[in-house]
C-alpha cells in the first residue's frame, strides 16, 4: 500500500557540513541506526506524508494542543510533530544523563548556598551582585532548607550539538520547564502511525515519567505522612500549557487543582473536596513564583493561595519547584555554571557549556569586542531569543552601534560563538530535508535525580533557522534513546 511514486524518505537527503543525527558521518555504524536508515530508505515519501496527515488530525482530535486566545476566541493549535525520529545512541545517552545529573546536583547545592552561607560569593567564584541583585533572588528563601535540600525538582536542560557532534548545554530551565507531555505523546503517536519503523529496535520507554515524578513528590512531602496527598496546581484551562497540566495530573493520578481549590487553615494546606477540606502534602505548581501567594509576592494575584509560602516554610507542605530557583537558570549565572560545578563537586563538567565569554571580565570583553562579527552577544537579563545581536548576520553599522552599547554596559552581556546545530532529516514541503534540532532532557529530583531517557527534541522547521522555540516556528520529534 506504500508503493507510491515520489522517491523514498532519504533519497536526495543531504545534510551538507552539519552533523546529522541520523546518518552520523565518520562514526562507526550502529546496527540499530543502520536498520532504521534502511527502513526509511525503503519508505516512499508520499507514504510518510500520508501518515503525517493522520498524525496531525489525531493530535487535534485528541486535543494534544496548546491554546491561543485572541479576541476571546480559543484556538487550539497543534505543536507541529515531525514523524522522523531523532536517535540517541546508548553511549551518547550516558554522557547526557550523567551530565544532566551532575548539573542538577551542582544547581541544588548552589541554590542552598546562596540562600544560606553564600560561600561561593565570599570565595569570589561568582560576583555577588549577579546573585543577590538578581530579579529571581527570593528573600523569603533565606535560611530555609526545603526537604532533601532539593530546590529544582523538575529541570529541563537544553542541550545542543555542534558540527563536530559535541554535546553542550545551551540553557538551563529550573523554574517550571514545560514540554515533557510532548515527549510521551510523541512516542504514543509514533507507536500509532509508525510502529513498523520501530519494530525490533530496543528503544527505551518514556512511560515511567509520571511514576517517577509522583515518587519524587512523595519523597519531599512533610515527614511522618503515611500516604502523602500530591496535587498539581495549574493556572487553569486558559493557560496555554493546560494540556501538559492535565497530562501530568493524569500520569501521577493526582487532582488537578487551581488556587481557588486550596486554602491554608490552622497552618496547613487543604483542598476543597466533596467531603469537605482534605489535607494536601505536596504541590507540584505550574504557576510562576510571583503568582503563588498574594501574601508573599504579588498581592493582586488571583491564581495563588494566600498563606502558602508561610505554610511551606513551616514544613506543613512541600512545593516543587521551590521559589527563587530562577537564579540558577539565569543567563548571567549560566556563564559561571562550569565554575559552579567545579566549586561544589570538584569535577569537570560532563556536559560543557557553549564556549561563553563574560563581558564583565576584561579578557571576555576584549575578546568579544575583537570578534563581534562572528559572535552572538546576548543580554543577560532577558530571555526568549530577543534583543541579541548575531554578528555574522549584522551589518557594519549595527555592529558599531552595538560596540558602543557593549562598552558602556559590559556587565549586561555575554558572548558565544554561533553554534551550527546538528540536523535531523525532517519532512518538509518539498520532501525530506535537514533541519536543526536541540534536545531538552527532563530531570526529576526528590532524594536523587532521575533523567527521563529521551527528552524533547525541538526542530526548527524553517530552512536554515537555528531557532527551535515553538513560538518561532519550531516543531518537535520523537526522541529514541537506544538501549
Amino acid at each position: 500500500m506504500d508503493d507510491l511514486g515520489g522517491g523514498s524518505v532519504l533519497s536526495g537527503y543531504d545534510p551538507g557540513a552539519f552533523f546529522c543525527e541520523m546518518l552520523r558521518p565518520g562514526q562507526p555504524p550502529d546496527p540499530a541506526l543502520s536498520l532504521l536508515v534502511s527502513r526509511l530508505s525503503a519508505m516512499p515519501v508520499e507514504a510518510l506524508r500520508r501518515r503525517a496527515a493522520d498524525a496531525e488530525r489525531d493530535l487535534l482530535e485528541r486535543g494534544i494542543t496548546f491554546t491561543v486566545y485572541s479576541d476571546a476566541a480559543a484556538i487550539d493549535r497543534v505543536f507541529p510533530f515531525d514523524l522522523i525520529p531523532r536517535v540517541i545512541t546508548a553511549p551518547e545517552w550516558r554522557q547526557i544523563e550523567t551530565g544532566v545529573i551532575q548539573r542538577v546536583r551542582a544547581m541544588n547545592l548552589f541554590l542552598h548556598d546562596i540562600y544560606h552561607d553564600r560561600k561561593i560569593l565570599k570565595d569570589r567564584v561568582i560576583p555577588p551582585e549577579l546573585v543577590l541583585g538578581n530579579q529571581a533572588y527570593c528573600e523569603v528563601m533565606i535560611g530555609f532548607t526545603p526537604p532533601c535540600g532539593t530546590y529544582a525538582h523538575i529541570c529541563g536542560i537544553d542541550v545542543i550539538r555542534d558540527d563536530a557532534g559535541r554535546f553542550m548545554v545551551l540553557e538551563d530551565n529550573a523554574r517550571t520547564p514545560s514540554g515533557v507531555s510532548y515527549v510521551v505523546e510523541n512516542r504514543h503517536m509514533t507507536q500509532r502511525v509508525l510502529s513498523d519503523l520501530m519494530r525490533g529496535l530496543a528503544v527505551r520507554s518514556v512511560d515511567e515519567y509520571g511514576l517517577r515524578l509522583h515518587r519524587a513528590m512523595t519523597e519531599i512531602a512533610p515527614p511522618g505522612v503515611l500516604d502523602p496527598q500530591v496535587v498539581l496546581l495549574s493556572p487553569g484551562i486558559f493557560n496555554s500549557a493546560y494540556f501538559e497540566h492535565v497530562f501530568l495530573a493524569r500520569e501521577m493520578g493526582v487532582p488537578l487543582v487551581e488556587g481557588s481549590d486550596l486554602i491554608v487553615e490552622a497552618g496547613k494546606v487543604w483542598m476543597r473536596t466533596t467531603a469537605g477540606l482534605a489535607p494536601v502534602h505536596t504541590i507540584y505548581r505550574r504557576l510562576n513564583d510571583d503568582s503563588l501567594d498574594p501574601d508573599a509576592f504579588r498581592p493582586d494575584s488571583l491564581l495563588g493561595v494566600r498563606g502558602l509560602i508561610e505554610a511551606w516554610r513551616r514544613g506543613a507542605v512541600a512545593i516543587a519547584n521551590a521559589v527563587g530557583t530562577g537564579v540558577a537558570d539565569d543567563k548571567a549565572v549560566y556563564a559561571y555554571m562550569p565554575r559552579i560545578i567545579r566549586y561544589y563537586l570538584a569535577e569537570d563538567p560532563i556536559l560543557p557549556n557553549v564556549e561563553t565569554r563574560i563581558c564583565r571580565e576584561p579578557d571576555g570583553l576584549a575578546y568579544t569586542l575583537d570578534h563581534l562579527h562572528e559572535l552572538v552577544v546576548k543580554p543577560v537579563a532577558e530571555s526568549g531569543g530577543y534583543g541579541l545581536i548575531i554578528g555574522p548576520h549584522a551589518t557594519k553599522a549595527q555592529i558599531e552601534e552595538f560596540r558602543a552599547r557593549l562598552q558602556a554596559h559590559p556587565d549586561n552581556y555575554i558572548s558565544q560563538p554561533v553554534v551550527q546545530l546538528s540536523v535531523s532529516p525532517t519532512l518538509c514541503e518539498h520532501g525530506v530535508a535537514p533541519r536543526h534540532v536541540d534536545l531538552r532532557p527532563f530531570a526529576v529530583t526528590g532524594r536523587d535525580t532521575w533523567v527521563l531517557p529521551g527528552g524533547l527534541t525541538r526542530v526548527a522547521l524553517r530552512a536554515g533557522s537555528l531557532v527551535v522555540n515553538s513560538s518561532q516556528g519550531g516543531g518537535s520529534k520523537d526522541t529514541w534513546v537506544l538501549a
Binding site: E61, R62, P255, L256, E258, D261, R272, T274, A275, G276
Partner: protein, 325 residues
C-alpha cells in the same frame, strides 16, 4: 478543624469544583440529545413547516420565548431550527450546550477517560461545523440523527470507560436530573395542548399528537407494549411520570438519582448529600403515593410546576452541599 474536615487516608478525594463540572457535563450532553429528538419529532409530525404551534411549543418547553423573539419574529421550522442548531449564545441551544460540555470536559480531562474527551472533542468540531446548508428540511433529520448518535456514543463510551468512583456518581446525578427535568417540561407543555377539547371528539386526530409526545421522550414503542389498546391522556401522562421501567420517566430518574446520592452518602461518607436525599425522599413520596388519576384530578400543571421547582432545588442542594457552591 471543624465539621466538614475529612482526615481519612486512602480515599480518592474529589475536588468539589470538579464534582460540579461532572454534573454539568452530563446535563449538557443530555440536553443535546433531548433537543435533537424534539426537533426531529416536531419536524416529522408537524402538520407542515408553518405549523407554528408545534414549533412554538419547543420554545416553551425550554423557556426560550424571550431569547427567541429578540432575534426572530415568526416561529416556523426555519427559525426554530436555526435558533437551536446554528445560533450561539442561546443558553439552551446545541451550540452552547456542546461548547459548555467541552469546557467542562476540558476542566475534567484528568478525571474522565481519554476516550470520553476524544469523542466530545470530535463531536464538538462536528457541531461547530454545522451551517445553513444542513438545515434544509430533508436534511434536518440527518443532522438530528448525527446529534443523537453523538450523544449516544458519549453515553456508551462513558458506560464502558468511566471509572466508577464518586466521579461517576456525580456524572450520573447530572444525567438523571436533566432527564427528570426534561420529561416534566415536555409533559407540562404538550399535555394540555393535546387534551381533546369538548368540541372535538375525533380521537384519530389526537393519536398523531400523542404519538409525537411519546416519541419526543423516546418512549413510543415502550408505551405501545404497555398499552396496546391506544392512547388515553391519563395513561400517557402516567407513563411519562410514574412508570418504574421507562428510562425517561420522572419516577425512574428520581429512583436512580436516589441510588447515586445514597452511594455518595454511604460509601464515600459525604455528609453534604443529606439535604438532597431528604428533599428527594419527599419528592418521590409525592409520586409513589398518588395515582395518575388523583394527580390529574388535582391539576397536572401545578403538580408539574412543583416537581420542576423541586428538581431545580435538588440541583441546588447538590451544588451547595457537595460541590462547594
Amino acid at each position: 478543624m471543624g465539621a466538614g474536615v475529612s482526615d481519612q487516608i486512602g480515599v480518592n478525594h474529589l475536588i468539589a469544583r470538579h464534582a460540579a463540572g461532572l454534573v454539568w457535563l452530563a446535563r449538557y450532553m443530555e440536553r443535546i440529545e433531548n433537543l435533537a429528538r424534539l426537533l426531529d419529532v416536531t419536524r416529522t409530525f408537524a402538520r407542515d413547516s408553518d405549523d407554528s404551534g408545534s414549533w412554538l411549543s419547543i420554545l416553551r418547553i425550554n423557556s426560550d420565548e424571550t431569547a427567541f423573539f429578540e432575534r426572530h419574529s415568526e416561529t416556523n421550522a426555519d427559525t426554530i431550527t436555526r435558533f437551536y442548531l446554528l445560533e450561539r449564545g442561546n443558553p439552551s441551544a446545541v451550540q452552547t450546550a456542546i461548547h459548555m460540555a467541552r469546557e467542562n470536559a476540558r476542566m475534567l480531562r484528568a478525571l474522565i477517560s481519554t476516550e470520553m474527551w476524544l469523542q466530545i472533542n470530535i463531536f464538538h468540531g462536528r457541531i461547530r461545523a454545522l451551517t445553513e446548508a444542513d438545515l434544509v428540511p430533508d436534511h434536518l433529520t440527518a443532522v438530528c440523527t448525527m446529534l443523537k448518535e453523538g450523544t449516544q456514543a458519549h453515553t456508551g463510551i462513558t458506560e464502558g470507560t468511566f471509572y466508577r468512583d464518586q466521579c461517576w456518581n456525580f456524572y450520573m446525578i447530572g444525567r438523571y436530573l436533566e432527564r427528570a427535568d426534561q420529561t416534566t417540561r415536555l409533559l407540562d407543555i404538550k399535555f394540555n395542548a393535546l387534551l381533546p377539547s369538548a368540541a372535538t371528539s375525533d380521537a384519530n386526530v389526537d393519536a398523531g399528537q400523542w404519538n409525537t409526545l411519546l416519541r419526543a421522550a423516546a418512549g413510543y414503542h415502550a408505551y405501545r407494549r404497555e398499552h396496546p389498546n391506544g392512547f388515553t391522556p391519563p395513561e400517557v401522562a402516567g407513563f411519562l411520570l410514574l412508570n418504574g421501567l421507562f428510562p425517561r420517566s420522572v419516577r425512574l430518574n428520581l429512583a436512580q438519582l436516589e441510588w447515586h446520592l445514597t452511594q455518595l452518602h454511604g460509601q464515600y461518607h459525604l455528609r453534604g448529600a443529606a439535604m438532597a436525599l431528604e428533599r428527594l425522599d419527599m419528592l418521590r413520596g409525592l409520586l409513589v403515593t398518588q395515582s395518575i388519576e388523583q394527580i390529574l384530578a388535582r391539576g397536572l400543571s401545578p403538580f408539574l410546576d412543583y416537581v420542576q421547582s423541586q428538581i431545580g432545588a435538588l440541583h441546588g442542594d447538590i451544588m451547595s452541599g457537595l460541590c462547594g457552591e
